[in-house]
Structures are given as structure tokens and as C-alpha cells.
Amino acid sequence: MSNRRLLLGNEAIARGLIESGCAIATSYPGTPASEILAAVAYFQKEESLSMHTQWAVNEKVAFEIAYAGCQTGLRAAVSMKQVGLNVASDPLMSAAYMGINGGFVLISADDPGPHSSQTEQDSRLMAMFAKIPVLDPDSPRQAKELMGVAYEISESFKTPVMVRPTTRVCHSRQDIALGAIPKNKRQAKFEKNPARWAATPKFRLQLHRELEEKLAAVAKYRPTAPQKLNRKAKSGKAIIASGVAAAHSKDILRELKIWSKIPFYQVIQPFPLHRKFIEHIIDNYEDVLVIEETMGVIELQLADRYRVKGKLSNTVPRVGELSPEKIQEIISKFVGLKSEAFTIKSAPGRRPTLCPGCPHRASFFAIKKAAPRGIYTSDIGCYTLGLNLGAVDTVLCMGAAISQAAGFYQAYKNEKKRPDIVATIGDSTFFHAGVPALIDAVVQKVGFVLVILDNRTTAMTGNQPTPATGHGACGESTETVDIESLVRGCGVKFIQESNPYELQEFTALLKQAVKYSRKNGPAVVISRYPCVLHRARQGETGELIPVEVSEKCDGCGYCIKHFECPALVYHDNKEEKHVSIDPILCTSCGVCLNVCPKGAFVEKQ
């Protein structure tokens, strides 16, 4: 049996960390980075390693735990998605100045497209902003290799190093050879050095100077220098690419039969770009095309605006994923080839929806009943899909449902007619960034209802545990933090818990909360029912209430529009319009029994 294994990009990254002797790994889940930590935990178990692997409450906390680990001389890593890095940017900026003791690798996964994110921001630009080196892998295989390289740079130059995979690296699978795991274990040893680890502004200036020197040295580091992959190619034109764009380009150049003609350089380390490489390119080529995602980080560092074409010159689109067909068009144009027509019929596809039986659907339906003309602020998670039910008006970033509710309240404070405001936030998101906002709302006596959608898991990203779950990344048991006590601790006076599947009682409770909030400040309702997907994976189900559609159904479409369950199918025939239930999708949750205004859904006898 060979040691080649089919690894997801994120698993390859995890394996790379383990093979580099990483002793502390932390993360907060977020697509496309979520599987990294779970895979670290998997390999940790498989290889019986003693290391610390944990889901932290948010990315900032995750960063700081791992960073302290590296301060003791251990190798540490923190992984997150690109918008998670916004949350962790505070420690990142400072850690760049302070440097490291043991190797420290930050993995920030970008999502050009975006497929599952709020923005298409480029983490490599964050690395540039923080002044740390960043590596840009083109495939799962290279991502694994670059983990070791990242630790070498980190320890050679005493700096945190970022590795920036994109969705197409994280969520591709490749057959990859597994390597050995280092036997020698380092011991944690923190050496006090307040001038570095607790530097005051005076020392920070010195650290900043050191940081610039480190970057200048990294820009000469041989192992990560850009490579010309087709040595024999000669032309006045050159193509430079990094990441997955480089992978696409390699196949395309071969297929267009210009591999042996147009010099092609792959950049592994987009920042700091190697000095000699910059000189070489400017000295040798008249016409240079740079293909990279999602911003022009390499292009920015190639200082000749006349010869360099890329995002800044609008030669490469600044928005959206660089699909291979887009790259083929760009390259064809650049080298003067007629490009193949890639006009595909565009079809919308299916929009994502809440799963059949999802407790969030019941919560949203009840919210609309309890505050029909309200403003509905919401947050990041599966429940963003409450959009489809018309029960989500705003989604900004993690935790903003609560602060935005406060903002709307203050904006309408002096108006005669003030809308009811209902905020929805998931359990994991509440822990992540909701708590400070709730404290603020209590202090300001903000009249709004907060519905905490407590499905006992971080569902959207693949059911990672929350602080209330009671187990950690490796399945070990942990302490739990009770949401109700936490809310009470924030100073909230109205707090009730209810099961949204009991739709009538749940709606009545929400109405009570709305009424309370108009006069007395924040009211919190914890909507508690486990994620159906998570439950099903564990082989569990709730009480089954099979439902059928009676003859009372007149095809008014109310349930389709306002309840939007994928298991409800609308039939628009000439003879009659009606609704039926798809037996494959229906989970028999029974919630729809209380949805039809005509009472057409009835329990199957």
C-alpha cells in the first residue's frame, strides 16, 4: 500500500503543519478554511501526537493563543478565512513588529468569486499592510510543501509568515504522498524580554526598523524566488502568475502551444517580491502580463506602469474569480492569438435555502408574525438564508445584527413612528462577536428583540463545536458556557427560552418580547432546537409528525412564499393549482401544520 492519499487542500495544509512539527494549532471556522483545524485534529489522533488543537471563540482569540505558543519557542499556526483576518488584524499588526521565537504561520484563506463570503478581499494585501511575508500555493500539493517553507522563513527571519490559499486550493483534492512526522519535541520555554514582548512606543520604532530589515532579507531568500518554468522560452513578452491562476495558466499555455515561446514565471512569495526578480523583469521584457487573485499585489511591486499589465491597467478583471476560461481569453489577447469563444448560456441555478426541517425557518416565520412591519437585522451563518423568507433585511459582518439593531433604534428614536426591531444571530456568532454589542445595547437601553438561534453547533461551516457544546476539536470534553447565563450577565432583564418547532407558543412568546422591548429595552429570546443536518449525521431524529396536504389547499401559494420549505412543491396546472409534499425532502418536522391560513396541512393518520 503506497502512502499516497486523496487529500482535500485543507487536509494537505493540516498535514504540512503536522509534518513541520506544529505544536499549537487554533482556528475559528469559516469557509473556505474550516477543514484545516479538523484535519489537524484528525492527524493528531491518527499519529497519537501530544499537541494543542482548538477551536477558539473568534479569530482574534485564536491568533493570540497560537502567537503566545510561538513566544515559548514552539511552532504554532492559526487558520481562518479572509474576513476572519479582519477580526484578527489587531494582533497581526502588532505581532509583525514583535516577531517570533518558535515559527508562526498564519493561514488566511481567500474566496475569489465570492462563493461563500462577504468580500473578495486579498489577504496578501493584508500581509503587505502588516509587513509580513506571504506565500501563495497553486494546489493542495504545493500548499502542503509550503507549510514547511513558511516555518523555515519564519524562524530564519524571526517573523510571522502568512500562507494564503484560495477556495480552489482549499476545496480541491489531489493524491498526495504523506511524509514523516518529526520525532523530536521542543519544550516550551518563555524567555522574558519586555523590550520586545511588551514594547512601548519607543521600542516599537526600533522593532519597525528591524522589521524593514527582515523584509529586505526575505526579498533575497533563494528558495522562494520566482521561477521561470519554461527555461527555453524567449520573447519580449512575459507572463507572471501566482496561486491557482498560475495552475490554470500552465495548462492553458500548453494547450495554446505557446509554452515553449512565452516566458512564464510563477511567483510563490508575492510579498515581499524578490528585488532581483523585479529588476530582471523590468530589464528584460517590453510587455509583462500579471495574473493573480484577487488584487494586484505582485503588479503593485513591479514599478513600471507602461510595460506591466494586470489589474491596475484593467487588462485582468478586478472583480470576480479568475476562471480558467477568463485566463485563456486574457492570455490569448496578450500573445495575439484569436481566443476561443467561451460564451456559455448563463443559467441562474438554484439559490441556497434553509434545509427542510431547519428550526431557523420556524423562527423566521414566527418573527414575521410577531413584528410584521419590523426591521430585521441578521448576521453571518446559515440563517442569512432567512433572506428567502423576507425575514432578513441586513447582514454586515459577524456580530453586527445586534449593533445594527442599536443603530436603527437610535436613528428612529426621535421619530413619531418607531419600527419594531428584531435581530437574529446564531449561537456561535453570538459568542464570537455578539456579546460586546449586547452589553452596549443594555447600557443604551436599546428597544429591540434579540433572537439567538441556538442550534447547538456552528452549522454553516460543517458543525464545529461552540463554547456551549461541551466538546473540543479532538472530541475531548470541555467546560461549557451557558448562553442564558451569559445574556443575563450582560444585564438583560427579559430573557426566555423556547422551541421554535412549537410554532404557536414560540410566536406568542415573541409577541410578548416585542411588546416588552417597545418600552423597556432589550428582550432576548433563545430559540433552541438542534441543527437537523447535524442530528441526522449522528443518526438521530426528533419526534416524527408526518404531514399531508388536504383538499382545503386552494393553491394560494402562501406557504411557498412565506415558509419557503424545499419539501413543499407548487403545482401550477391548467386544471388546478395546489401544493404537495416531496417525500424525499420532508423531515416530518410538523412545523407546517401551523403555517397554512386555510389549515390545509394536516397530520397523516
Binding site: 497553486d138 480541491s172 490554470h248 467561451f342 441555478g349 438554484r350 425532502l585
Partner: protein
């Protein structure tokens, strides 16, 4: 089969249908045959009942994605997806589509339809549409002439992967093999 095999297959469906599962089976089968594999999948928000597509490549490739008009084959678990993903297929490429209706697909493509939803109900395994469609494609791969297709793996290869995956979970293994065979036999009918 020679090591120079190069095939690109697009697998298209909606969240919950097991697009990723089928992709994984094909990938494991390729590894079992000592071939290089590269696949790309959809995760996160898009997976909640939305359109899910995975790109599967076997052989020497740098890019994980299939360009339009380059796919050798198409496995479609929901026929409405033809509108979105049909144009990935190259001229002369093959397609197997789960559909209860007449296929509205260009005649130049060697496309065949199978009502996998109905078959899945018949074998009381409503979630096995993915395996039924795959079984049907594998049957076509066994054909030399007519609508036979060139596929790097066989029914036996996929069964081997299933056994490896579900080894001790006999019930799950039996149900999966039954679904795969239901699709296979449907073609042979």
C-alpha cells in the same frame, strides 16, 4: 489502461444529493489504479440546497477546474442543471442525466437519461440517486459500441472503493452496492 489517461468529468446536482460523495468514489478508484487525481468541489453557503458542481480530473493536470466545452463526460443528478452545466461538455462528449422527462439536450452529445428518482424510490433508498446515475454510466463504460463511453474505471473498481469505505458497516455497504447495481442493470435492460 495506460498511464497516459487524461479524462475530465463534471458532476452536477443540488445540495444533499451526494455530488461530493460520487466525486470521492471516482477519485479513490483512480488512486487505486495508480492514476493522478485532481478534483474541485463546492462547500459552504452554496451547499445548502443550492446548485453543487464538482470538477473531476484524472491524469496530468495543473488546473483543478474544467473549462467550458472541455469535459469528456457529465454526470447530472438533477436535469434542470443541464441549462447551467451542459455547455461544459466537449463535442462528442458523453452525459448521463437523472431525468423523468425527455432530455432536452443537443443531439450531437451522446446523452442518456435515467429516471433515478423513481428507481431510488423503488429500491427504498431515496438518497441513492447519485449511485444509480454512476452505476448507469459504468454500464455504458462497459460497452464497446453504440453509446459506449470511455471511462477510466469499471463497476468492479467502484465496488472495491465502496467496500474499502464501508468495510465494517455492512448495511450501508449493501444498500450502496444495491443502488449502484440498480443503475447498472437499468442500462442493461
Amino acid at each position: 489502461m495506460s498511464k497516459t489517461v487524461k479524462q475530465q468529468i463534471l458532476i452536477s446536482g443540488v445540495g444533499g444529493q451526494g455530488v461530493l460523495f460520487v466525486t470521492g468514489l471516482l477519485a479513490e478508484a483512480a488512486i487505486g489504479k495508480g492514476l493522478a487525481v485532481f478534483t474541485s468541489e463546492t462547500h459552504g453557503m452554496a451547499q445548502r440546497g443550492g446548485t453543487v458542481v464538482s470538477h473531476f480530473k484524472v491524469g496530468d493536470f495543473s488546473s483543478p477546474l474544467i473549462r467550458p466545452f472541455k469535459a469528456d463526460g457529465l454526470l447530472v443528478l438533477k436535469d434542470e442543471n443541464i441549462a447551467q452545466h451542459g455547455s461544459f461538455l466537449r463535442k462528442g462528449g458523453w452525459a448521463v442525466v437523472n431525468s423523468g422527462n425527455d432530455l432536452k439536450i443537443e443531439k450531437t452529445l451522446t446523452a442518456s437519461g435515467i429516471d433515478a428518482d423513481k428507481l431510488a424510490q423503488e429500491i427504498s433508498n431515496p438518497k441513492s440517486v447519485n449511485l444509480i446515475v454512476l452505476g448507469f454510466a459504468l454500464a455504458r463504460a462497459g460497452q464497446k459500441a453504440g453509446d459506449g463511453i470511455n471511462l477510466f474505471c469499471s463497476l468492479a473498481d467502484i465496488k472495491k472503493v465502496l467496500r474499502k469505505r464501508f468495510g465494517s458497516r455492512k448495511k450501508l455497504l449493501d444498500a450502496s452496492v444495491r443502488a449502484l447495481e440498480a443503475g447498472y442493470k437499468e442500462y442493461k435492460k
